[in-house]
Symmetry: C2
């Protein structure tokens, strides 16, 4: 064995509704030894993302559910600490999918080398990684904002929403963000440069959103669902496009939803306004990734795309951090610092 | 004046739910006289279509509502009986939008000349007209069926559904139709050549539909809504496309729909299966019309697309015929014969 101790967090029990700390269990095991053609990775950073809630349930989402006792999954930035693979040397930094643990063995499949001098390593989990690519591919491929159109996105201080709004502005559209609380709203408006921002905690939220969209809504990038959907829905213009990449507001719900049934009204407007509703997972557009990485890196260098990270120190704090994420308590891309780079 | 009597049917009262004969009123007036640059049309055939129900309500649909006392609107085949327009001669046949009346004046705008020797005049209201073009444009532009895929359509004996299934087969897809009652089902299977047909009146309809789609559903051409949607919804494959062109099952409903709320479940599957829901009105694709007309005419000549018409004699029977249409009582494209060709 490698002589190293692997701290890992497994799925202890499936959540009923909102996850609790009891759904997770920390374990210490011996870190595995890499075989021929394999390498041992030390995890430096773990990404926490809303999709993880779905994988904790038994129901099929866009991927198979996680088994009880299995290591919680997730994207990671890691460093090669031992290599028996010809393409990797000790000290190399990689993007991997090693999950909630401090060490993992890989055969190299699915790894992507990272250059720490080109961009901060954590950006590979955020603005230059899955959340940024979700924003880019969904907005440009499905939303297709045109100059002068209005683009609305919720969780606008989060890594997907923040990027959606800034990319909409790069395309000449008007970006309207939705966020929770004065600090996040100020950040979205003043730091990210959205044209307008609305606090979804305001009692007159729907009315304020309508005022912020005087020409209606042409693109709604749906990443939350729930009450935000209800407020945006009446504002859609004819031919509005709605990329659907997340529904965090309903991930913790179980069983039937009480009436009235909103589906007939939604279908009526889909028809009468020629709306497009299109679900997607960024992986569908993976061939766009090189273009994304090149363009987004340039926009970051030019200051046209900004990002914010919310870094939590220590793997053991990952469960509470994920629970907070589902409650909207993070501020920026949520990342757990798991270990130190050599 | 022209000396001719114009029989017309106007909207007498807005329906609450299902329309009744009292919502309509027949009137006799003097037919108008065409001015310079105008022509007088004698209506030969009037098309009855589900969208008319929406225009009878006060709520905005994809067009402004009809005013009380206004002539019921509709597509028509007409003959020029007097012309003061350089492009039209007496005796010419045209497609017009003259509505529920026996005579109308036109300035030529929106008219399309018809050649009665090329195809029966009534086909301009059905398979070679708006319903056929709705099927063609929605299926090919939004549904995009691929060889081996499964395409489901309801109202499969009607002018849109019948065409959707036959076009799906031309593209190498498997066509599954839904119709009401044994006569319509036999027609869909035996005359139109669908691969399978399911009677939506069967008590185990959902189970039978599932059996008829052993490889799931890749395209659902939505023209009815209601219980058919509920049966198709669980069968969608990843990346299924759902062109939405009609919701006849809910046109007569008023007020809120009782729970449970189906929207969260639909949004969940839109996300997890990367579904596309896209409402459309055929007019959006009007530039495809010449291609449609050429291709469809050829397919009809070759016997690859068949159609059926349900012709009602006399304008005064139009109200009861439209009510029957909304109840699913017509069998084929519903047309009212209003007058005789000269």
């Amino acid at each position: 064995m490698s002589g190293l101790t692997n701290r890992r967090i497994v799925l202890a029990a499936r959540p009923e509704g909102r996850p609790t700390p009891e759904n997770f269990r920390a374990e210490d095991t011996a870190a595995p030894e890499p075989g021929e053609g394999e390498l041992l990775l030390k995890v430096l950073y773990l990404s926490l993302d809303p999709y993880m809630r779905g994988r904790m349930s038994a129901a099929k989402s866009y991927a198979a559910p996680l088994g009880l006792g299995e290591v919680m999954l997730g994207g990671t930035v890691a460093q090669v600490v031992r290599s028996r693979h010809p393409d990797y040397a000790e000290g190399d930094h990689v993007l991997s999918f090693s999950g909630w643990q401090s060490y993992a063995v890989s055969n190299g499949e699915g790894l992507r080398k990272l250059d720490p001098s080109a961009a901060p390593l954590t950006t590979a989990l955020g603005v230059l990684g899955m959340p940024g690519f979700t924003a880019y591919s969904g907005l440009f491929t499905i939303g297709r904002p045109q100059p002068g159109e209005t683009v609305v996105v919720a969780a606008a201080s989060g890594p997907v929403g923040a990027t959606v709004g800034q990319l909409a502005r790069i395309k000449g559209a008007r970006a309207v963000g939705i966020a929770g609380g004065p600090d996040k709203c100020a950040y979205v408006r003043d730091e990210l440069g959205f044209d307008a921002v609305v606090d979804h905690r305001a009692p007159d939220f729907a009315e304020r959103l309508k005022e912020a969209c005087p020409k209606g809504v042409d693109v709604y990038f749906e990443n939350v669902g729930g009450a935000v959907w209800d407020a945006v829905f009446p504002l859609f213009n004819d031919f509005a496009r709605i990329p659907v990449c997340g529904l965090i507001a309903q991930y913790n719900s179980t069983g039937e939803f009480p009436g009235p049934d909103r589906l007939p009204g939604v279908m009526r407007d889909v028809l009468s306004k020629s709306l497009t509703l299109r679900g997607f997972i960024q992986h569908e557009f993976v061939r766009q990734f090189p273009d994304f990485h090149r363009e987004m890196s340039a926009w970051i260098r030019e200051g046209r795309v900004r990002y914010r990270e919310d870094i939590v120190d220590g793997l053991d704090r990952a469960p509470e951090a994920l629970i907070g994420l589902l409650d909207g308590r993070n501020f920026g891309k949520l990342i757990v610092k798991v270990g130190e780079s050599a």
